[in-house]
Symmetry: C2
Subunit: 285 residues, 2 copies
Amino acid sequence: MKLSQLAFFCAVVEQGTVAAAAAQLNCVSSNITTRVRELEDLLGVSLFSREKNRLLVTPEGRLFYQKAKQVLAMAQEARALFKDDAERGVIRVGALDVALTNHLPERIARYRANTPHVELHIRPEPSLMLEQLLMDGELDLILTDGPIIHPLLVSRLAFRERLVLVTPKALSAPTVDDLSRMELYVFGQTCHYRRQVDGYLETSKIKPRSVMEIESFSSIFACIEAGVGFSCLPESVVEQAVTRHGKIHFERTDSLESSDIYYVWRKNYTSPLIHRLIESLEQEL
Amino acid sequence: MKLSQLAFFCAVVEQGTVAAAAAQLNCVSSNITTRVRELEDLLGVSLFSREKNRLLVTPEGRLFYQKAKQVLAMAQEARALFKDDAERGVIRVGALDVALTNHLPERIARYRANTPHVELHIRPEPSLMLEQLLMDGELDLILTDGPIIHPLLVSRLAFRERLVLVTPKALSAPTVDDLSRMELYVFGQTCHYRRQVDGYLETSKIKPRSVMEIESFSSIFACIEAGVGFSCLPESVVEQAVTRHGKIHFERTDSLESSDIYYVWRKNYTSPLIHRLIESLEQEL
DNA sequence: TAAATCGTTCATAAAAAGAGAAGATATTGA
DNA sequence: TCAATATCTTCTCTTTTTATGAACGATTTA
């Protein structure tokens, strides 16, 4: 079945005659006769009743006309999707939880307000998964710790971020021995921060009593407040948390490298939507 | 824009590669490449980002995919409309008010119950209009007084019907003089019955004091009950009405010819739906 | 009655779709 | 590392589809 067949058929129904339809569609009437016949053969029903030298729509034809018009209208919508200069598309963004929680919400809201016809699909993932999904083409843009050096990818600094040491307030200047007597709370096994924390522990010769994996920032803070554990967390998260959790203390440590968040996307990506999205996200609030 | 282009595009999106899409659609991959390119040129956007030897859907392509799938699904619905053996169509029926009111309702309900996929459009019209609409192809079937003798039309008796003289009960055996002192109520100007009534008045030498046109049976009955007027109405209507209006009286009159209702439709109508509809309506309740 | 209109058929021309080979690049496997 | 395989694309050529225009029969209009 072809859209042109449907258009021919609808024109005949609307105009009443083949000749008028031919005039409307700038073609010859024999063409219309043939195409409508094809359509009837395809469907197995008579769409018109031929009587003398005129066409009368059959009940079947009337029903088919309703559907045909819907199909044509929807095809027209598809055809016209990109005719105006509005940005339209579906962008898939992946981001580290810390980026999603602390840096992105207001910026995404602003982008959505300025670009209402672009659908954003946003999913939180650990950094290894993000890179994998970006390479597979499942994601258009990721916000992850970087930069990622790869011939196909581009990285650009998004947000400065570093891990800080978070301890109970009662223990304002913890020594290595203090920390070694405590529990360590880490976010997730596949999270990139884990590697940095491990490096820090090794450098500082801290051997925590035990390691607990907790996939929730607020749970980690609650545990630290309880007084028997510590953690290494992104500074932006901690800054927000100290207002709600009074009994925690944090400090920067040189042994914990900076761990900035980068935009990463494909180098040879033709669509301009990605770049506009990045430009929008980069603007100060 | 062609449905085949949309199908090619969607196959590539779903399969991920041109080669896989070609295998699915039983064609050669160069063909797909070309058709997708055409589509991109037509829309003015890149649907895929070409990187190395693979295709990645762009944000625009993702959006277009959603629409394209809808178009294809709806086209498929249209294609499959008549694939089963259920009767489907839109039948337009016109009928005299008397037929619609007294004879048709239960039969139409029964037909609808047996044939749920046939849409019925039913409109009441006076007989001249009915014939006109049937000839114009605006109606598939009419129920009107007949038979209509016409080379293109077929008539078949539907319901026996005749006009009866309806008078106030107080005047059980009205004379010509009685009636000539009264008002006459007639249904509508364009109604076929009007001619019969005029013929009756002339034959019987009745000259009513005045003629009122009232387009409502129940209003006519109310006026007759008031005692100063009479009317000539279809027997089936009157029979129903006497139960509700006690103060009216009716009698058959030879001067009022029978006025039966006929099915009338086009002789050369190929669609079987009309005939099935008539068969259904003809069955006894 | 003559002229115009209508839908259809047919032969033919134009356009589109498809096939298949060849090329450039990238991935896989030995 | 190097050949083998797989990717998409470009090109030419063939087939298929679509459109044209004239002719025809039938009907309607003037």
